[in-house]
Symmetry: C2
Subunit: 494 residues, 2 copies
């Protein structure tokens, strides 16, 4: 695969100056045009050590307007990154729409290093490549332009460059963070690189391999590839895959939804409620401290009908937990920084560290609920959200997170009762808006959306809990019990 | 000072329920009202260990709508926090306008602990209190409501509560992060607490001391104090201190500004330029690696006239530095998240870690330049910005940062020449906007703003460098040389 990259492609110094002048003007223009576009550009610069990835990035920064480029590197230790799912570190560095993010060292570095050093099994390697593939797919589905450059040099050149000890190489962190720079690993590195490239080369984010022996050729060609990609992407929007949307009403006529399985007659009387409340809360309190000790994070999602009692249920949970251990985040309209990123970005950014709890009052499921019903999201967007969400949650769980998802269910009549009572209680009126009445008219559409949501996203590693909400005391206890059961069974017994 | 807090204030359990019902409704109303206000609320919960700070915060979270309250704690290690100036960790947690941030453990914890353990000299302690005072002053000047609660309990009560070993106390991190919980330190703790309270009690952010023996009294009183503060603040905006604004024109007639001291005739010829460029760039490259090794961060601010050559000068600098070591940030219009915070917040949030470089293309000085001249900022705002900026920069330097500030100066004629040439160069036209011509008409006002800016903020620890920009080659070399000189003299010789 790499033979074609050792044929001595060159550009003469004097040609270079003229070429770079043309290229630079075009790149600047393309960058200017990009500023008004609604998609980000992600440039991955990968390849062999000594191939000059750093110099190329500097060249790009010089050609283009560095104010709209962010160069991201991940070679420095950060315990805030390490105490979250692996991809969090990349999510928080993703460029906003209209901007360019260069990733020098990226999601490709760890598997490459690990595989070369034999620290990763073939299965792990394959799995990892799949994750990369779906990560990039998610970004490109959202409109992002992903340009991946692989820089290759011959064994001799690498030897030469790695021996060359310019001062910054002495002072720099190389070696430490580049175990596979060590001699004798060249062949193995090529082998792994080829696997990595083959496994992650796709129509939506293809690899560009280029010969990096001659720095002039390397830089001009890289710049040209990026320019082409920018122009091509600007030329036509990516084909939107319009999925098959199952009609919500079947010819079989209306059928029961999963919500019908919830026994709304379930009740709990005053006294036994307060008893159980105390028991479960103090149990939860201790469990959260144990989870903290075991560095297991707890992520809980609260969804439900308007007036289902989400807020008060959440308070019964948070009240039990030391405020130092949890963060409750609530999602109203996204900020413009959030709007400028993939819809999952705003949820990733709130994720607390290992050992802490993150409670989401409304969550990423808005995509397949309100955004679907109100048509804020296109069918293609909410349809693919199911798998995006499943992958996201899988990462949380695989990182050791304990995930809980609650849908608090109430009957349509119960909701009406509560709406009316809100109208008549001073400090509750603010909770009732026109929207609430409007959403209520779409009750059945929401029912079907919930039904599909549960069937698509209630997985083995992240099941939904449907809460019987007509009796608030019952619902609260059910939620607290579920918390305690799930956490304690996930923790190592002390 | 604390005698009055050991008199046995109490609330009977049955009164409590009624009181909390009233209080809760009022707090919710006040919180609702706050949502539309343009200021944040910062609640500091401090006091003796065992006084029930945590329980109080949980009570507040339950009374109010926890979705609009963020509880912030700082007991967990984070190398990203520790590798930045101390207050960065608080800046990034400041609530947005209309929201409430509860600080449980705050800027008061470290000095208290250190002083009790004799790890801090009286001078350091005093200095620290001054920093707190000006930090809070900056927030309240910006409109923030700061409510500080100090919870007191008697020696006996503390003993009892600290001995009590409920499971979460066993599992919790207490002890480790609370050295002064150790017995025998009660008296010393009171002593330090009194000093701390006296030194940081002020009209703009007063302390509220309350007896915490009885939890019902503690919670109700705390809630009441917060409610009062909210209503009072909502009732009338804080008195804006309108400072004396020196008239820009003196009766002495126009006088030379500091900019006249810049020799704009300075030139540099082609060959010696390219030589020096190479020399300085490779020198800078190595210096940045050494700074990285010594964990010294470099912070550089670039300001100057439109078309002064900021961008191209910055590129000559960034080109010299390994992209893994620097981040260049540029400031256009603030995002809505940025607008919702103190104007310095957006600059704090971009600050890179120790050993890294942060380059600001335009900076916090916009406050006393464009925002002043264009009257985006009120006189009181830009006037107090001088001292806010000096304190901010002092923190950078005291943390070990190496700070550089460049104003690139050109003559009015030179600017016109460059504007016209921009009009005639395809890939430069985008750089010229109507604003540029408009700003040009205000040349003299900007001159005076720069003159005052330099005289107020060119301090011993953070001097300005005025760059002679009529000759771009000369300016670039002057900047690179200043970089090298400043960094190398700041570093320990290897």
């Amino acid at each position: 695969m790499f033979e074609t990259l050792e044929v001595g492609k060159k550009i003469q110094p004097n040609d270079f100056d003229e070429l770079q002048q043309q290229l630079r003007e075009k790149l600047l223009m393309a960058q200017l045009d990009l500023a008004d576009r609604d998609y980000p550009v992600i440039i991955v610069v990968a390849g062999l050590d000594g191939a000059g990835k750093g110099s190329l990035v500097q060249q790009l920064n010089e050609w283009m307007d560095p104010r709209w480029i962010e160069t991201n590197t991940f070679w420095e230790h950060s315990d805030e990154e390490e105490s979250r799912p692996f991809f969090w570190r990349f999510w928080r560095r993703l460029p906003a729409r209209g901007e360019i993010g260069i990733f020098l060292g990226s999601w490709y570095t760890p598997p490459a290093q690990a595989a070369v050093n034999g620290e990763m099994t073939a299965e792990e390697f394959t799995l990892y490549c799949k994750q990369i593939e779906s990560f990039e797919r998610m970004l490109t589905d959202d409109g992002a332009l992903v340009v991946k450059l692989w820089l290759h040099i011959s064994r001799e050149t690498q030897q030469k460059r790695l021996q060359d000890d310019s001062p910054h190489r002495k002072t720099g962190p190389r070696g430490s963070d580049r175990p596979y720079e060590l001699h004798g690993k060249y062949d193995r590195t090529l082998e792994v690189s080829e696997q990595l490239i083959l496994a992650t080369d796709s129509s939506h984010s293809p690899w560009h391999l280029l010969e990096a022996e001659d720095q002039h050729y390397r830089d001009i060609t890289a710049g040209e590839l990026i320019l082409e990609a920018l122009l091509h992407r600007a030329g036509r929007p990516p084909a939107v895959i319009t999925p098959h949307i199952p009609t919500t009403e079947r010819i079989t006529g209306p059928q029961p939804t999963v919500l019908e399985s919830v026994d709304l007659s379930a009740k709990l009387e005053g006294d036994s409620y307060s008893e159980q409340l105390q028991v479960q809360q103090s149990r939860l309190r201790d469990l959260c401290w144990r989870a903290y000790q075991q560095k297991r994070s707890v992520v809980a999602v609260f969804e439900g009908w308007d007036a289902a009692g989400k807020g008060s249920a959440i308070r019964r949970v948070t009240r039990a937990i030391d405020p130092r251990l949890f963060r409750l985040v609530q999602f109203a309209a996204p900020t413009d920084e959030e709007r400028a990123h993939h819809y999952l970005w705003r949820f990733w950014r709130q994720l607390q560290r290992d050992g802490r709890c993150t409670f989401y009052d409304r969550s990423w499921y808005g995509r397949v609920l309100v955004e679907r019903v109100e048509q804020f999201a296109a069918p293609a967007e909410w349809q693919r959200a199911y798998s995006e969400i499943n992958r996201f949650e899988r990462q949380l769980v695989e990182h050791g997170g304990i995930l809980l998802k609650f849908w608090i269910h109430i009957s349509k009549d119960e909701q009406e009762k509560r709406f009316l009572s809100r109208q008549n209680t001073a400090h509750k009126q603010h909770k009732l808006t026109e929207d609430d009445w409007r959403n209520r008219e779409k009750w059945h559409e929401y029912e079907l959306a919930v039904d599909q949501m549960v069937s698509h996203t209630s997985t083995r590693h992240a099941p939904w809990t449907l809460v019987a909400g007509n009796s608030k005391p019952y619902a609260r206890i059910q939620i607290l019990e579920t918390f305690c059961e799930t956490i304690s069974s996930a923790l190592d017994t002390p």
